[in-house]
Symmetry: C2
Subunit: 210 residues, 2 copies
């Protein structure tokens, strides 16, 4: 009302971002307006590119760009298209961000499958809303070329993650594929004194031979 509608509009858009209140949204817009015009254009272009180019990988549902690694009308992400990666291991994760976190360890060289969430009974997210059908189909298809030998279930160690692990284990148990999960135990740098009971129970149960 005191500012032109185009300023108000962008404030409202920023206000929709997670954790951003109206004051912070105002701060962002005025910060941007104080920058040289080129900076605003840069930001705008980055937005436009994202909106135009980003699609999901046809195989693992990671984000990728249109015509990135196109094979027979399918779009593959850089990881799925990488011939160096071990196609016999599949790491099943909830969100694309988890891929980033795992890649940063430099410890995993297999492929990914992004479920697009986890089973959440409170939010009424059932298995049918996740990419589980696609996972089953993908593993079935792999038999003809490089069969998947191991599925790593890498979800957050919470109720939803555990539910999803249970559900997927039930599905894949009958097959000969090895199913693993991320180890639970004490995180690096933590103190025994402050560890919660579940973490400590898990650390005891899964104690390792030296």
């Amino acid at each position: 009302m005191f500012f032109p509608s185009s300023i108000q509009n962008l404030i409202n858009q920023f206000n929709k971002l997670p954790g951003i209140g109206i004051k912070t949204a105002e701060k962002f817009v005025f910060y941007l307006l104080k920058q040289p015009k080129g900076k605003l254009k840069e930001f705008n272009l980055a937005f436009e590119e994202l909106e135009k180019k980003i699609i999901k990988c046809s195989l693992c549902f990671n984000f990728t760009e249109i015509n990135n690694f196109n094979k027979d009308g399918f779009n593959f992400c850089s990881i799925c298209a990488d011939s160096q990666r071990d196609k016999s291991i599949l790491c099943v994760i909830a969100e694309p961000q988890d891929l980033l976190t795992i890649e940063k360890t430099n410890e995993y060289h297999g492929l990914y499958h992004i479920l697009n969430g986890v089973i959440n009974t409170i939010k009424e997210i059932g298995p049918e809303r996740l990419k589980i059908k696609e996972l089953i189909q993908r593993i079935r298809n792999s038999q003809s070329s490089t069969p998947v030998k191991e599925i790593i279930l890498a979800f957050n160690p919470d109720i939803e993650g555990e539910t999803t692990i249970l559900y997927l284990t039930k599905i894949f148990k009958p097959s000969k594929i090895k199913i693993t999960r991320l180890a639970r135990g004490l995180p690096m740098g933590s103190e025994l004194e402050y560890a919660d009971e579940i973490t400590l129970t898990n650390a005891l149960k899964n104690r390792q031979n030296l």
Copy 2:
């Protein structure tokens, strides 16, 4: 590196906003990517509009849209173009956000003049980098139509604000224009016990008759 460059680009852009680290920037971009495509387009459009339409008011340097209230090639903001506002009072402020804050009180009905900052010797912002020349010219020009009778100096009560007040008072003191500043004293809801000495000194010095 693990994500397409268009995702990385937008993360970098968000990362430049004040107080936004790389993790939060990532959260924003993945949040946006999870929204239906229309939402992303909305955000993009808001950006585009801001970039294309926003200019500064030729009179007070508030933000306004191109061809908003055009007079003889000048662009006026909605406040400067409002004939209901009292043209004889001028409130001098540092930033456009301050205008919003003052307007919200519904107590002020004059015009504004935005300096685009305050004098800051540490950051080497001298008076020549502020819209002070324009302020002097504006007051001089006003003599031919509605002369400015009062200048309210509304800056933050800190060293930079006080310096700017001193500087402007020196300039305008020789003229017959009344110069005022925002009252200093105890803020509403505060406790006497916790008031700092300068605030309390000001509250005592400027005590009001009942």
